[in-house]
């Protein structure tokens, strides 16, 4: 079967990358990981069900496994590698909060969780822990670190604390 190679230019974390012979079938996720070697973005299910591959396109969170790389040439892509300011010297507040709240165990879903939370902060659906949980439902955590993930996001968003006994 013939493979159709195309010229693709991606803008990732403020840098321009040229991929002169990219298979037209390549997803944004595979382009990031396999071609640009930005392996912070994780491949979980590859079918849009787990959220491990979440990145930002023009500031909006998307699932990079459901995106064809060639269709994202006009977008500014941000991955977990591009989140920290000043050459990773200064972590993003969400990264700090995830560490402080112990918001992960194995860590495989974490970059997706954090990128999704960055998108969520911009959307503003953080008025309560319940709303945070609903709007983070596209990111699964097999270790079940949800409590601490929601708490980390709530802290950064300034979400009012729930009454004691919240599940």
């Amino acid at each position: 079967m013939p493979v159709h190679a195309i010229q693709v230019t991606l803008h990732v974390n403020g840098q321009q990358y040229s991929l002169p012979h990219l298979d037209s079938r390549t997803t944004l996720l595979d382009a990031l990981r396999e071609h640009l070697k930005l392996t912070g973005t994780k491949k979980g299910c590859g079918l849009g069900m787990c959220g491990a591959c979440t990145v930002l396109a023009d500031g909006r969170r998307i699932k990079s496994c459901l995106a064809l790389a060639a269709l994202y040439q006009d977008h500014d892509i941000t991955t977990i590698e591009g989140l920290a300011q000043g050459n990773a010297a200064e972590l993003h507040p969400l990264q700090t909060a995830f560490i402080e709240h112990d918001a992960f165990q194995c860590g495989y879903c974490t970059s997706g969780q954090i990128m999704s939370a960055v998108g969520l902060l911009r959307e503003g659906h953080t008025r309560s822990l319940t709303e945070i949980r609903e709007f983070m439902s596209g990111n699964l955590c097999r270790c079940g670190a949800y409590m601490n993930i929601a708490a980390a996001i709530a802290e950064v968003a300034g979400t009012p604390r729930e009454p004691a006994g919240f599940p």
Binding site: M1, G48, C65
Partner: protein, 329 residues
Amino acid sequence: MFPFTLEQPSDIPAAIQLGEAPAAEYIAGGTDMVQLLVDDIRRPERLIALGGIVDNRIETAPDGSLRLGAGARMSDVADDPAVRASFPLIAETLLASASPQVRNMATVGGNLLQRTRCPYFRDPGFRRCNKRSPGTGCEAMEGVNRTHAVLGGSDHCIATHASDVAVALVALNASVHLRRRSSERVVRLEDFHRLPESTPHLETVLEPGELIVAIEVPPAGSFAQHSHYLKVRDRASFEFALVSAAVALNTEGDRIRSARIAMGGVGTKPWRMHAVEEALAGSALDSSAFRMASERSAGGAVSRGGNAFKLELMKRTLTRALEIAAGTA
């Protein structure tokens, strides 16, 4: 994934010309298409990209009607102030769908065209599927059919239509504007999806190359004040409906003047509940009236074993949705 050429035409007429070719398919938000490509369920030779050229505007006209460009993102429609104020049912169904990431990618036009979640259709490890490979048979008839349709099925297919927003749009009398190379036409959304009958692989009335360019919703008027979408599913969020009900009530005092009702998860297409609407017209805003009317939702429903629970669940879901919409819950 089957190899394809990726075409990025500069305008819609060019896209339609390319889209008429055999083995060509359109891709917009891509959230359903890419899943189907990855799993080898769709094998287009040419993929025609619509991003950047398909209308994505969200507009309300002075008469109160709403026009959604087919390329409008689900999240943009759900967040639009005019949609939230005048068509809250549409915003509600969109927010009950998929995940925030998918809603940032997927378009409302594509949402109407998403393929079924029938596990046999989605898994090419099963050879038989009349939707995927016409004439091969249907595993769901005697297989695991807990999620399948009880309305509109045939001996060839009982797969449900998975869209939430289509349920609201059918209830609200929406139509779709379709465009071909030399003509445009308007089709009521209720008539847009086909019943499976003996050709379940043909899911809509779209002709080869024909595109959805916009969705139009007539003024919702006072229906906006009493509406609700209730989605019953296996987990609290990010899941398809087992049964869902979109209801909008036009009330006068403590009575219903008229009702608009459609259900999801129960039919082979978004299912308008005309018999329930008739039963509710003129009725009181109380639970016993809602229960009596909801009995009619399962009229003509046929179960195939695993989905028998839907016959009762759909009545209770509808009753509850009516109570919430009426404010009597």
